[in-house]
Amino acid sequence: MKRLEAGTELDGFRIGACLHAGGMAHIYEVTYADERPSPFDMVMKVPRMTAGDGAENIVGFEVEHQILQVLHGTHVPRFVAAGDLVNLPYLVMEHVPGLTLQQVLDAHTENRTRAEVADIARLGASIARAAHSLHQQNTCHLDIKPANVLLHPDGHAVLLDFGLSCHAHYPDLLAEELRKAVGSPAWIAPEQVVGVRGDPRSDIFAIGVMLYELATSELPFGNPQTSGGMRQRLWMDPTPPRRLRDDLPEWLQEVVLRCLEPEAAKRYPSAAHLAFDLEHPKQVKVTKRGKQIQGTPFFTHFKRWLKAAGMHYQPSPLPSQQIDEVPIVMVAVPNHEASDATLYSLRQAVARSLGIRPGARLAVVTVISPNLSSTSEHEKSETTLHRQYRTMLQQWAQPLDLDEHQTSYHVLESSDVAHAIVRYAEGNNVSMIVMGAATRGLQMQRFVTTVPIKVAMEAPCTVILVKQALPFEHLMV
């Protein structure tokens, strides 16, 4: 469609300034033509081609037209209206305020600065949370790149442009029998290169590329223009970021390189796991991956190159199903007046919950009263106290077989135990809370029941309330 003049009316909307004239579409500010107020600013996206032209690039618009209408939540622009694809193709959506990550990167380039570690972690966690919200809705974005990430002034990230996305409930219009690579060359995941569409871990790879960019101002795999160039990432490790920036902590390199693993199975199993690590740097388990400064040796690359030659398309299961299989399980461990039976039963319940889910992550949490740490030597006593409780949690978890599961230990301070547990679960995309049905012993029964019930009522996820029970041999001793 030709560029629209400001002031013209289209299907009930008045066209304002043209904000963007791209190769695929024009984006205009719009208001309702009947002057009725809108609760938020709106933009209209109008493709250059129409369906009647039979052009390939209309497909991307058609995909976005399909998917944007069914997505919800704060991590996508709110959908307002859509025109008929054939006669009057347009999309009206929320005009989300903020800067794109591309603008943030450009500013750093211009000022010759690099993002602070804390900022990288914060941005990365917001983007991972946005991706997770999409995956929960059975959608993979598949074109996450700095220009498509909008940073809202309040700190959350909004993902834009669903033209290459894939919603598992709809036929994938971009798929074809030849399984060609669809994506932006610098950020595309290795499995996308061989035509896999619908693996949420492809989005985690793209977030890894952006974290690498933020940290080093370089692209880990360059910006290849050929399919052979794109195939490199099927076997090649990028230069360790710490080699390019020596003040980068090992934990951050560990996180970035885990996102960039060529095999999807070696990356974070869900974006919630990634957000978790970025928000709890001290809990990141640093491996060789985080420490290395030398590049990967030739022979290792050669072996992987041979393996990659055989990589081919495989269908992916539903995104929501995939991420359901790798939940973040949280266990709330009582820290005083807890009987052996309670602690034992909690451990059994956790072992059972993790047992059938190899990629699941465990967060062991306890809540202490703020009064405990409010002594004169505030700073010092707090760390000592927290260390004490953390050790207690580690001892509790000792008998569990946690080789397959990333585990972290957290001491929360709050006078409202239930509230602290629920907030923690919300903030970390926890899928399941395991806690005692009675947490403080029988003499306080009257209070006790309220904590688990309050958690069960307010939690954003499944809550397993564990009743204490010791096996016979323990009772005999």
Binding site: V86, H169, Y170, E177
Partner: protein, 254 residues
């Protein structure tokens, strides 16, 4: 206009009534029965009567292969061990009145309405009852139907599975496994072919009845699975003295 597409009822009155009731809640305005009203189940006469009434109220009713199978009696008099299928075909023949059998015999093979071509099996040779079971056979049916410039959609039954085939960016058809209850955008500028599953004899391990709703105005297709009293339907099969296999099939959906 919202159409309910129902096929392969196979004398299962419980399942048919459940789907019709469900279609009412979806705001369906017109019914289309895509063949195989009879065989296998315990209520051939009642199902035929129901469909005749629907036809009087404006429904499209098409002929399937089973409407032909039940026409001739004593199909296998020479065979001392008749197959399960021919046993029920004979039984069904006897349950139906001559008028009902005649009505079934003269049902049309296809119908074309609102850019849809409706057919029991494959549009490329409706009378040969070819299965549309993969991308290749779906393409044969779709290409044959779309020689008519108005046709954008081909809906059929016969295979007892719910599948949607579409063209992606490549030339060949792609198969898509639908999720029940999700309206799928099927815009008119593309060509689509779907098998809508079986009302009365699911075979995918899920006993719930299958049918679909097509909204021609919004260009959206929704596949549905409807729970019904499949145990009662199976009980009726046993009570009618029909082969045990067909009762178990309703119970397990296999």
């Amino acid at each position: 206009m919202k159409y309910a597409l129902l096929s392969d009822i196979h004398s299962n009155l419980h399942a048919l009534d459940a789907c019709l009731a469900h279609a009412q809640t979806q705001g369906v305005e017109r019914m289309a029965i895509l063949g195989d009203l009879v065989s296998y189940g315990a209520f051939p006469s009642e199902v035929v009567a129901r469909c005749q009434k629907l036809q009087q109220d404006g429904a499209i009713v098409l002929r399937g292969n089973h409407e032909e199978l039940i026409q001739t009696h004593n199909i296998n008099t020479a065979n001392p061990n008749p197959s399960l299928g021919s046993q029920t075909a004979e039984w069904t023949h006897d349950q139906l009145s001559p008028a009902q059998r005649f009505w079934l015999e003269i049902l049309p093979l296809t119908a074309q309405v609102d850019q849809m071509l409706l057919v029991h099996a494959s549009a490329d040779a409706p009378e040969r009852w070819r299965y549309v079971e993969d991308e290749r056979t779906a393409a044969l049916s779709l290409d044959a139907a779309c020689t008519h410039p108005d046709v954008r959609y081909v809906f059929g039954g016969h295979v007892h599975h719910q599948s949607l085939y579409y063209r992606g960016t490549g030339r060949q058809l792609m198969a898509f496994k639908p999720t029940s209850g999700v309206p799928i955008p099927t815009p008119k500028h593309r060509q689509w072919i779907a098998t809508i599953g079986s009302v009365g004899q699911p075979r995918d391990g899920n006993p719930r009845a299958m049918y679909a709703v097509f909204d021609s105005t919004a260009a959206k297709l929704t596949f549905h699975r409807v729970a019904y009293d499949h145990r009662a339907a199976a009980r009726a099969v046993r009570e009618a003295g029909l082969p045990e296999f067909f009762a178990q099939r309703l119970e397990t959906g296999k």
